[in-house]
Symmetry: C2
């Protein structure tokens, strides 16, 4: 039976695994994140933090779970991501009516940090979409949304 021999995997087509949707989306995420990061280099906020605050500028205060839902982010991930924002006084946490829930609010310092980051983000966004194509991006975004719905609760 030769149970110690490794399987011959060269026979497998790499194009199969190279087609992995997870790999391709993650790869793109890495690349695009570095792109935006280069624009935000001298801003007080990183990309994820900018996303979080951008939601809060519109809807505030929000319980943590609701914020996580909007961001399509694991609740426990968000808890961790909020920590540096609290430490730098960009957001504040207050108790909700329901004693279990905790509400996230934007502070004045946070508003300023967001306002300071916004122009840099706009440059990154404008520059990229101009190169990629506005219409093409609108379509791509729609397809990404579809991919999101297809991968939520797959079972």
């Amino acid at each position: 039976m030769n149970s110690t021999t490794s399987p011959d995997l060269r026979a497998l087509d790499l194009s199969e695994t190279a087609n992995c949707a997870c790999f391709n989306v993650r790869k793109t995420a890495r690349s695009i994140t570095q792109y935006y990061a280069s624009f935000l280099a001298n801003s007080p906020l990183k990309e994820t933090q900018f996303s979080i605050l951008s939601v809060l500028t519109q809807t505030e205060p929000l319980p943590i779970g609701k914020l996580a839902e909007i961001l399509l982010m694991e609740r426990t991930t968000l808890t961790r991501n909020l920590k540096p924002l609290i430490l730098r006084d960009f957001i504040s946490i207050s108790p909700g009516k329901d004693k279990r829930s905790r509400l996230v609010s934007l502070t004045n310092t946070g508003s300023k940090a967001f306002a300071e980051t916004l122009p840099q983000w706009q440059k990154a966004q404008k520059n990229l979409i101009a190169k990629f194509g506005k219409v093409k991006w609108a379509l791509l975004r729609k397809q990404l949304t579809t991919l999101q719905s297809l991968t939520i609760d797959p079972m």
Copy 2:
């Protein structure tokens, strides 16, 4: 000048920041990663590890920098990602001709781990692409590749 007042950000259209390409791609990456993870739950490899090994099944041995380039992954990120794979004896590191470089090779244990994970990955991939549409995915993948090239060395 009232420098202590926070800027009025409600005036900003949330649809602007909600259109952020970085946010949208990262969000999709989170969702799709969890989807694949649910299929690989009982496999020896996580998604990123599967991607790394899948490259090595075809081209081996590879210097770390070259592997990082193929994966479109920061070299220092890859260094960190290789650590658990070394610890579990899925890959091995050997010195290259150039004494600076270090070559990554697949071990027999690693081959088996990959072979064991492959069917689960195939299920995830097949299931998702079937729902999304093969042709649509081919197009989407091409557009993701475009996004990658546009965000590499943007300056």
